[in-house]
């Protein structure tokens, strides 16, 4: 399928999703749906680096935080529309991705992962001590009740924005997968030394992957202050973001764009349902149980079942 046709399909799917949400007509549906969509963006972004090139990034919360806190700063200092804030948050986060990549990509395997984890801790310390964005007390954001020019509630607007970002992220991931760039990423995953020996510009490709992956995570994090209305470092840098974002592609399958979506929908929906019907602590337990189940039964994720 050609890329424009694929994007058309994505838009149709997104329109159906939004139509369904309008049909249900319950604010909670938007709140829950936002989280699932946010995880589609996050896990797709993670998979560009983690799945395609094989570099496991544990620093996800740092990228989300760059997006979220850049929104806090912009909210306090400017009156930019949310879409512009997302673009800025994404750009800053992509820069963090390239910067981290440049400093750490000489490290391979586990060492790279540990470095990204350390990077998240450093970022949390910085944010906690930055008074302008609220420091450890956190920042309050008052969101408008409605979006005048669309005639919808603000939470519906956030849901739509996240739907749009999901389309953007998934379309990008799929386009990469079928391109020279995507095969270049795969050579790094399969055998980095051989990739170098074949003349694949490995450092450049890894920096591109880091930038794209970080950029999308930042974009997913940018609307977060408007969603939660109270943003504090402890919950922004919560380990559950990192755990969920990594678990979803692993459960869905890391080899293709579809895997992170399947994982995010399955795990994200289960967690939302469990949070309402049982308790929010159970939703983390679900991640653990599902991960163990998939590692034993389907180590290549849901996609692995369908491939020979």
């Amino acid at each position: 399928m050609k890329n424009p046709l694929f994007i058309l399909w994505l838009i149709v799917a997104a329109a159906l999703t939004f139509g369904l949400a309008r049909l249900v007509d319950n604010a909670y549906f938007y709140f829950a749906g936002y989280v699932v969509l946010q995880y589609i963006v996050l896990s797709t972004a993670w998979n560009i680096l983690g799945g395609y090139t094989g570099y496991v990034n544990f620093g996800i919360p740092a990228f989300i935080a760059v997006g979220a806190y850049s929104t806090v700063v912009l909210h306090k200092t400017t009156s930019l529309p949310l879409v512009a804030m997302i673009a800025i948050g994404g750009a800053l986060s992509a820069l963090l991705g390239v910067g981290t990549g440049y400093l750490t990509l000489r490290l391979r395997g586990t060492f790279f992962s540990i470095a990204t984890l350390a990077m998240a801790v450093v970022m949390q310390t910085l944010v906690t001590n930055w008074d302008f964005v609220g420091g450890s007390r956190g920042a309050y954001i008052i969101r408008p009740a409605t979006v005048q020019y669309l005639g919808i509630n603000y939470i519906e607007y956030l849901f739509l924005i996240m739907l749009g970002l999901s389309i953007f992220a998934v379309a990008t991931a799929r386009a990469i997968e079928k391109s020279r760039l995507g095969f270049g990423f795969a050579t790094i995953r399969d055998d980095e030394l051989a990739a170098e020996a074949s003349g694949v510009p490995t450092l450049k490709l890894k920096l591109i992957a880091c930038g794209l992956s970080g950029g999308f995570m930042g974009m997913a994090g940018s609307p977060l202050p408007y969603y939660v209305t109270y943003l504090d470092p402890a919950s922004t840098f919560s380990l559950s973001y990192a755990v969920n974002t990594i678990a979803m592609p692993l459960i869905g399958g890391t080899s293709s764009w579809l895997g992170p979506i399947l994982g995010a929908i399955l795990l994200g929906t289960l967690q939302q349902v469990a949070t309402v019907t049982i308790s929010s602590a159970v939703s983390l337990l679900i991640v653990g149980v599902l991960l163990v189940f998939f590692v034993i039964v389907a180590p290549k994720g849901i996609l692995g079942w369908f491939q020979k």
């Binding site: 050579t187 399969d190 030394l193 170098e196 020996a197 074949s198 003349g199 694949v200 510009p201």
Partner: protein, 243 residues
């Protein structure tokens, strides 16, 4: 136009362990030169130095391609491949989860090679008809001999002027070793390459080599100007026959 290589006074090692001591070696235009030695004598280290994967502590590595001389010390692997030097690493090192076709296309990442993809692919498939049959198969699922064909073809897809081959015979059945060595000769003639081949299998290597060097404990112990000179040599008898 082919390429030539001149290594002189090369010292290299891994951290505190030094492996190569003042190695000097030449590959002239259009030659096949065998670098002979048993395990652990520094053949692979020498190859990796030329490819920029290990930085030598002393000495120079100079190539001349189409009349332009370049010192390779300090260059990255990518830049060295871009100059027109192809490398077949020891143990083949394919991309197992990509197909044969994708493996070959990844060999042509070098910009100068992209315009020649069709022609080079056709030539590789002519030399290795087996690969044409299996172009859609995952490289990791192929036999050792077939994988060696893919590794050679992948290196050639970068349209090199000089080819470095590290132990093409490793892990192959004797019959396949002979075939692989023959195909190196065919490829070399087809692409008008200069070849430096590291090999333990002495008898197979000298079948196609114009000249050869014997490396022992990181020194060049003997330089043979022809296959006969290598054949009638005491060091080789000692190393290979144990006499």
């Amino acid at each position: 136009m082919a390429a030539s290589l001149r290594i002189s006074g090369l010292d290299a090692g891994y951290g505190a362990v030094s492996v190569l001591h003042g190695v000097s070696l030449d590959v002239r235009e259009g030659e096949t030169v065998a670098l002979l030695g048993t395990n652990g004598n520094g053949k692979s280290t020498l190859m990796k130095c030329v490819m920029g994967m290990i930085r030598p502590s002393a000495g120079t590595i100079e190539v001349e391609i189409d009349g332009v001389k370049t010192n390779l010390v300090g260059m990255t692997t990518e830049e060295i491949v871009n100059l027109g030097i192809g490398f077949v690493p020891e143990g083949r090192r394919l991309f197992p989860r990509l197909t044969v076709n994708e493996n070959l296309l990844m060999g042509a990442f070098r910009i100068a090679a992209r315009s020649q993809i069709e022609r080079n692919l056709a030539f590789c498939f002519e030399v290795f008809p087996r690969l044409a049959e299996r172009r859609k198969q995952l490289a990791g699922s192929m036999s050792g001999g077939e994988q060696q064909m893919v590794a050679l073809a992948r290196a050639l897809m970068s349209a090199p002027k000089m080819l470095l081959i590290d132990e093409p015979s490793v892990g192959l059945a004797p019959l396949l070793v002979a075939r692989t060595i023959d195909s190196i000769k065919t490829l070399k003639d087809g692409f008008q390459l200069s070849v430096l081949m590291a090999e333990q299998n002495f008898t197979q290597a000298i079948r196609i080599a114009d000249r050869g060097y014997v490396i022992v404990h990181g020194h060049i112990e003997f330089e043979g100007g022809s296959a006969e000179e290598l054949n009638n040599n005491d060091i080789i008898r000692e190393l290979y026959m144990g006499a």
